[in-house]
């Protein structure tokens, strides 16, 4: 209905412009525009009907799959022209396709992802999330789909050369990430928890903190975009990413595992990763 109104309004505007251009062709133009309006309106209605049909189809195949993520984490997930894209987003799309479902991605703070899945507000989260024991108590993880690591970013010329040098330093992390959790084990560390990894990196470039502990792939992006930063060769920890679903939702878990296996076997998964991470 709203679309109809817009179509009519556009047609009327066009008619008005045309009318202003040529006085003699006045009646004719208006008439033509009027006819077009009706047609456009009819088309819109038809398109609306099609949408409804498509909606019905997707619900027949199992409906919508809602994914939550924190889209501030390139190259795994980030905003690009109003879309959330990245490795996780593409993998989730591929999984949803395999399951014959429609994918909807929602963006929220990283530390809200597991509560969102637990409370059933979302079906799953794919957010470069490391599998660890604490998280396993609260959600069920699929098979892992990526190798990852927590690395340390410092300024060029920093006296921090290996992870052990972090003792007693000011360290920036993103709240709730494994980097945040493990940084708590560093002796006498002064930990600054930011909402976004990028903000921690910004604080580092401004000299407010001494180092940032964050996942390797986003770290590479941040270092590339900010001159004067480097990643230490020795990683802080090694880990693996997986998708998390609500605890006890074995049906979805098994379907997703099957889809992940297919994607791995067919080489599609590697293709997605290669698309975003170019080999050095």
């Amino acid at each position: 209905m709203k679309k109809n109104k817009i179509a009519v309004a556009v047609a009327l505007c066009m008619a008005a412009v045309l009318t202003a251009c040529g006085g003699t062709a006045k009646t004719e133009t208006t008439k033509a525009a009027g006819a077009e309006t009706t047609k456009a309106g009819a088309e819109t209605t038809k398109a609306g009907a099609e949408t409804t049909k498509a909606g019905a189809e997707s619900s027949a195949a199992g409906g919508k799959l809602v994914m939550v993520t924190n889209a501030e984490f390139p190259p795994y997930e980030y905003h690009d022209n109003n879309d959330i894209v990245g490795i996780d987003a593409d993998i989730a799309k591929a999984i949803a396709d395999k399951m014959g479902m429609e994918l909807e991605i929602q963006d929220m703070a990283f530390d809200s992802l597991i509560p969102a899945v637990q409370s059933g507000k979302a079906d799953f989260t794919a957010a470069g999330m490391t599998v660890n024991e604490d998280r396993k108590k609260n959600v069920d993880f699929t098979d892992t789909y990526a190798q990852a690591a927590q690395v340390i970013i410092v300024k060029d010329g920093s006296d921090i050369k290996v992870p052990a040098d972090l003792d007693g330093k000011k360290i920036g992390v993103q709240t709730g990430t494994t980097g945040d959790i493990y940084a708590g084990d560093i002796k006498d560390a002064n930990i600054n928890r930011y909402n976004k990894g990028m903000e921690a990196v910004m604080a580092l470039t401004q000299g407010k903190i001494d180092a940032v502990v964050i996942d390797r792939e986003p770290a590479k992006v941040f270092v590339k975009e900010n001159a004067g930063l480097k990643i230490l060769d020795e990683a802080f920890t090694e880990e693996e990413y997986a998708i998390a679903v609500k605890k006890g939702n074995t049906e979805l878990l098994e379907k997703m595992n099957a889809a992940i296996k297919e994607l791995k076997d067919s080489g599609e998964l590697q293709k997605i990763v290669d698309k975003y991470i170019t080999a050095e």
Partner: protein
């Protein structure tokens, strides 16, 4: 049910001394609010005096203009944006500490609102009072200080108290600059235990108790001030 609640409580506050996130955060929240209130009153008082002086006497034209710009900019932008500008832009090459940054940002913000509260208090006093003061031989400053201000202050106490309650709650956005305030403390626990209920309710209750205690104190102050009227 009780079993689960107890278990939740244990997980969220006892394990790993997690309650410390809350208490450390509370300390920062109180620190920021207290010093921001001081800056806010000082700044607000100054601005209000300048503005009312201009209104009454048309002096201090340039200062009045500066104050006008200050009020427009600060009241026209969200405090969380001001806070991030303070941290990431203004203090970008020097780090005075996150708490200090927050105190300055919230103080400057509060000052703008306090200024308008004071100014409305001053203009709520009848012109006759002012004229009476002047005709008794007080100069402008003396009239303001001894006659207008004491009455104006009494009138604005409730609104002023309200502004400080708002300020206390507004400091909950301090987490945006990586500062661990009360809200962020709850967030950190939430990110460790993945349960939202306990940490969020605990944080909410603490804010509520602080506001209730403060409101009670203000009511006592108001009653004291009223007594002097008789």
């Amino acid at each position: 049910m009780w079993e689960k609640l107890r278990d939740d409580f244990y997980q969220n506050f006892i394990v790993d001394d997690r309650w410390k996130y809350i208490t450390d955060g509370l300390q920062n929240t109180l620190k920021i609010t207290f010093f921001a209130v001081l800056i806010g009153i000082l700044l607000g008082f100054l601005v209000a005096v300048i503005r009312s002086t201009y209104e009454n006497t048309h002096k201090l034209k340039v200062l009045n203009w500066i104050c006008g710009v200050y009020l427009t900019v600060i009241r026209g932008t969200p405090v969380v944006v001001q806070l991030m500008i303070m941290y990431f832009v203004i203090f970008s090459f020097h780090d005075p500490g996150q708490v200090f940054t927050a105190v300055v940002a919230f103080g400057i913000n509060s000052g703008a609102y306090v200024a308008e509260i004071f100014r409305s208090g001053i203009s709520s006093i009848e012109k006759g009072q002012f004229e009476a003061g002047r005709s008794l031989g007080f100069n402008y400053a003396q009239t303001m200080w001894f006659i207008i201000m004491p009455q104006a202050f009494k009138n604005v106490v409730p609104t002023l108290a309200n502004e400080f309650i708002v300020l206390l709650k507004e400091t909950s956005v301090a987490g945006y600059i990586g500062l661990q305030d009360l809200t962020k403390g709850g967030d950190i626990i939430k990110s460790r235990t993945y349960s939202a209920f306990m940490p969020l309710i605990a944080v909410a209750v603490i804010y509520l108790v602080m506001v209730m205690v403060f409101s009670r104190l203000v009511r006592v102050l108001e009653r004291r001030l009223q007594r002097s009227e008789h």
